[in-house]
C-alpha cells in the first residue's frame, strides 16, 4: 500500500502546477487545462482519503463515498469544460483572440 503522504504530496504538486498555469499563461485554453489539473488534484485527495479510511478501519463496512464524490466531481468538471470552451469560441469569434490579457471587458 502506498502511504497517504505520497498521494497528498502528488496532489499538492499538481495543484501548484495548475495554479502556476492559471496565473502565468495567456492562452485561455491552457488556463482551462490548468483549472482541470487543479480539479484533478482535488479528486486525488478524495480518492486517497477514501482509501485511507478503508485501510484504517478494515473491520468496518467498506465506505467508498470519497470515490463516488470524485466521480461526481469529474462529471461537473466535464460540464464546466463544455461551457468554458463554448464561451471561448464565442470570444474568439468576437475578438479574434483568446489571450486572457486582451479580453478585459465582460460585455460584447
Amino acid at each position: 500500500m502506498i502511504p497517504i503522504e505520497y498521494w497528498l504530496v502528488l496532489s499538492s504538486l499538481l495543484f501548484a502546477i495548475g495554479a502556476y498555469g492559471v496565473l502565468s499563461r495567456k492562452n485561455a485554453i491552457v488556463v482551462l487545462m490548468s483549472i482541470e489539473i487543479m480539479l484533478n488534484a482535488a479528486n486525488i485527495n478524495l480518492v486517497a482519503f477514501s482509501r485511507y479510511h478503508t485501510v484504517l478501519h478494515p473491520l468496518e463496512d467498506k465506505d467508498p463515498t470519497g470515490q463516488v464524490f470524485a466521480l461526481f466531481s469529474i462529471a461537473i468538471a466535464a460540464a464546466e469544460v463544455a461551457v468554458g470552451l463554448a464561451i471561448l469560441l464565442t470570444v474568439y469569434r468576437r475578438y479574434q483572440t483568446i489571450d486572457v490579457d486582451k479580453i478585459n471587458i465582460l460585455r460584447w
Partner: protein, 89 residues
C-alpha cells in the same frame, strides 16, 4: 521569462512547499490488520455506494441531477457556439 513570471513561479513554489510541509508534519496513523486482497474497495463497492442496495440509500437522485446538469451544459454550449446569422439572411 520576465520578472513577474519569476515572482509568480517563486510564489507557487512557496505555496507547494507550504502544502507539502503541512502534509509531512502530520503523524498519519499507520494501518494495522489490513488485508490487501480482501479489504480493497472494488468497482462493485463503488457501484453499491453510488446507487445503494435498497430503498433510498445511495446517490441515485444526485446522479440524475448531474445528468440534467450535463444536459444543460451541453445545450448551453451548443447555444453559445452556434453560428450567428448575418442580418438579412
Amino acid at each position: 521569462m520576465n520578472r513577474s513570471g519569476y515572482v509568480r513561479g517563486l510564489a507557487i513554489i512557496a505555496f507547494a512547499l507550504l502544502f507539502i510541509g503541512a502534509v509531512l508534519s502530520v503523524d498519519w496513523p499507520s494501518p494495522a490488520g489490513f488485508d490487501e486482497r480482501n479489504d480493497t474497495v472494488s468497482n462493485e463497492d463503488v457501484g453499491r455506494a453510488m446507487f445503494g442496495v435498497s430503498g433510498a440509500s445511495g446517490y441515485g437522485l444526485i446522479m440524475v441531477f448531474i445528468g440534467v446538469l450535463l444536459l444543460v451544459a451541453l445545450l448551453g454550449g451548443i447555444f453559445l457556439a452556434k453560428e450567428e446569422k448575418e442580418e438579412g439572411q
